[in-house]
């Protein structure tokens, strides 16, 4: 059990750390590409300058992400060989596709960064397209693997536990792909937009004493609008994901809500504290869980009592789920309020309290994305491949893993600190205070 705990802790730390960079690595290329296209189309040099600033930040984040991605890839193979062996046989093509996409993204990013002043704006913008394709493609490919872990399809196990009758297409395009891929990629866009908005809100608060110049205002307006749009899309895909869980992963949904008995008119629990397998002191909204899960207030939702005790996920996911939903709501409301005030009460829009609120949303966006993945991963326990392979059976038997749990996180923290330090050196968002000459 010691190796299982150490392996889980190590891969958990690594993935948590990697995700911080992934969300920017996926979302920033798309935002930069869009901004550069806008600058060419509308002939706005300021937009091009901003895209250049963001791309400098992208490089630092991409480098740290490439390193942590390399570690993730190797840790999966070395720490979880039984899992990777099984997954490799069935959805190995997705891993390979992720590698291809990553290769394209990395290569074109280097060319893109080295050619800001050597290519024409159009040529340079064309270079950003493979980066976007690579970043979205790699996110898509690796999320199909996670979706397959939640709803494994496209194979059956023979008597020796080996997968046979493999159908790669069915495995890759498993039932969870649609909801999971759209929800995760949109949440990366949402979180990244919130972080960028937070940075510019901080600039406005710090440098302009609440009276940002026109360029900064345009940027904040654009980012707040995008945050609201992405936030609403995340909420919509999240609703679809909830309905999907009710149908395909009832144990996860029951754990998220701490629902004990299978029932109709099931209440949604908001807040509360987890005690064993129950959620206590929560605010109960009658019928809302049934409605969200099935579309009817009298819909039937499976409870934990109908799940074998050895197959029940930990109810602690309730905290992560509530945290994620609360953050998503705040992330839509505060930028939404900013937009409303900016339209009808401009003086309030740039008050300190509003800018502080937007600043806090940046941190919350990243935490929300982390919570989302915690819900997915903890909610699938005790399985690593739902109903097929238990986490305890998937880990390496090499005892060396036990000693690694402490050292890697220290290096991750150091790399994170240095990345932030490097970002402060290269990324100068305060240039948005001035119009380009």
């Amino acid at each position: 059990m010691e190796t299982v705990a150490a392996g889980r802790r190590l891969i958990g730390d690594t993935l948590g750390f990697h995700l911080f960079f992934v969300l920017f690595g996926v979302a920033l290329p798309l935002l930069i590409c869009g901004l550069e296209a806008y600058s060419i189309w509308k002939k706005r040099p300021a937009a091009r300058q901003t895209a250049h600033e963001w791309s400098k930040a992208l490089v630092v984040l991409f480098i740290a992400g490439a390193i942590s991605g390399t570690i993730v890839s190797m840790q999966f193979n070395l720490l979880w060989p039984i899992f990777t062996s099984l997954a490799g046989k069935v959805v190995g093509l997705s891993f390979a596709l992720e590698g291809f996409a990553f290769l394209i993204e990395a290569l074109f990013l280097t060319i893109y960064m080295l050619s800001w002043k050597r290519f024409t704006p159009l040529q340079h913008w064309l270079c950003s397209l493979p980066i976007v394709a690579g970043s979205i493609g790699s996110a898509f490919a690796i999320t199909t693997v996670n979706a397959w872990m939640n709803t494994p399809r496209g194979f059956r196990l023979d008597g020796n536990g080996n997968p046979v009758d493999i159908n790669t297409r069915q495995a890759v395009f498993n039932p969870a792909v649609g909801t999971e891929v759209t929800h995760s990629i949109l949440s990366y866009l949402f979180a990244t937009t919130l972080v960028l908005l937070a940075i510019y809100a901080w600039i406005a608060w710090r440098h302009n004493k609440g009276r940002p110049g026109p360029r900064l205002q345009r940027l904040m307006l654009g980012l707040a609008s995008l945050a609201v749009i992405f936030g609403i899309l995340v909420a919509f895909t999240g609703d679809r994901a909830g309905k999907f869980l009710a149908k395909n992963e009832p144990a996860k949904l029951a754990a998220i809500e701490g629902l004990q008995q299978t029932q109709t008119n099931a209440p949604l629990l908001v807040g509360g504290t987890v005690s064993g397998s129950e959620v206590k002191h929560a605010l109960k909204v009658p019928g809302l869980l049934s409605f969200l899960a099935t579309g009817h207030f009298n819909g039937k939702v499976t409870g934990l009592a109908d799940i074998k005790p050895s197959d029940r996920p930990p109810v602690i996911v309730h905290y992560f789920f509530d945290g994620m939903v609360a953050i998503g709501t705040i992330g839509i409301l505060i930028p939404g309020l900013y937009l409303v005030f900016r339209r009808w009460r401009p003086r309030i829009a740039h008050r300190k309290i509003m800018l502080k609120g937007l600043f806090v949303c940046g941190f919350l966006g990243v935490i929300g994305a982390e919570f989302g993945w915690l819900v997915t991963e903890f909610g699938r326990q005790p399985y690593v491949i739902h109903g097929v392979l238990r986490t305890a059976d998937a880990v390496t038997q090499n005892k060396a893993v036990i000693g690694l749990g402490e050292t890697f996180p220290l290096l991750y923290l150091l790399l994170l600190a240095l990345s932030i330090f490097a970002l402060r050196k290269v990324f100068h968002p305060a240039e948005a205070l001035h119009e380009p000459s």
Partner: protein
């Protein structure tokens, strides 16, 4: 060539390309240590870290296509490869500090740490490669020692040839001496160690390696005598790419010598063909992109 052999070669190619990129980076690290940073400064950029994608791809190829051997490899190689993982993280930290904190002057400790981490990565992966060839840790056999020695010499030689060129007489000689020493080990001492230890590797790839080394030494003699101005760095890169491939071929039919056969380890019959075709399509593009990247780094902006 069977699908299994092609898969093994594909993984070897990715590791070899990564090794080549690592050699140039190690050359930069060495030049920082020996006071040649003015000439090599332009090659020092965090963008080099993206070459890790070749490592990821090499690893993914082995893990996905030879998935039946993963449990065994995890038990055997975790400790060896963890050194490389630590070094990867540490190198990224050092690069960020050196590039963004001290862009004008490099502290001695920083250059030393950069060199240490740069060398630790390929050495860790080479040690894993030695295990595949001999089924023993590298310190347990003469073959292991010889491979590690040739890796060190090869990295330093390729790095020096790439960065010092052949114009500066003092640097030219150090690069040439290292190049010749590397080929001597690769073409003579390593084959002798293989024969002496009797580990039963296939002979023809070792003979080819021997021939490549002899040709390389002959070219070096022509360059030294001034009969040709051929740039040895290209030949050195060619040998650097060919050596891991030939050693992998010599290990056939095994993935881990005398312990796990390639066919037994292979577990991706359903999609290996598609994967290899994809790789064949994308690889020339990647090499083209890498060439453009190096050209852009060398050209003043």
């Amino acid at each position: 060539m069977s699908l299994v052999d092609a898969s093994m070669l594909t993984a070897a190619i990715f590791f070899a390309v990564y090794g080549l990129a690592c050699s140039v980076e190690c050359g930069v690290a060495l030049s920082f240590l020996t006071g040649g940073q003015n000439q090599t400064r332009k090659y020092f950029t965090p963008l080099w870290e993206v070459t890790n994608v070749f490592l990821v791809f090499g690893f993914t190829t082995v893990a996905m296509l030879f998935n039946n051997a993963l449990n065994f490899l995890s038990r055997a190689l975790l400790s060896t490869l963890v050194v490389g993982l630590f070094a990867l993280l540490a190198r990224a930290c050092v690069v960020l500090v050196l590039f963004y904190w001290r862009p004008d002057r490099l502290p001695r400790w920083g250059a030393s740490l950069f060199a240490l981490t740069c060398f630790s990565i390929p050495l860790s992966f080479s040690a894993a490669g030695v295990y595949l060839l001999t089924a023993e840790p590298f310190w347990s056999s003469l073959v292991g020692f010889m491979i590690m020695l040739s890796v060190i010499l090869g990295i330093v030689a390729i790095g020096k040839l790439f960065l010092d060129g052949q114009s500066d007489s003092k640097r030219k000689w150090s690069g040439l001496v290292l190049y010749c020493a590397w080929l001597m080990v690769l073409g003579s001492f390593l084959p002798l160690a293989i024969i002496y230890s009797g580990i039963g590797l296939q002979k023809w790839p070792i003979v080819v390696l021997d021939l490549l080394s002899i040709v390389g030494l002959f070219m070096a003699s022509l360059v030294i005598s001034g009969k040709t101005n051929f740039k040895l760095k290209y030949y050195a890169s060619f040998v650097g790419l060919a050596a891991p491939l030939l050693l992998a071929m010599a290990n056939r039919p095994y993935l881990v010598h005398a312990k796990i056969k390639l066919v037994d380890a292979f577990g991706a019959a359903s999609y290996a063909g598609a994967f290899l075709v994809g790789t064949a399509i994308i690889f020339p593009l990647v090499i083209l992109g890498l060439g453009l990247f190096i050209k852009l780094i060398k050209t003043p902006g």
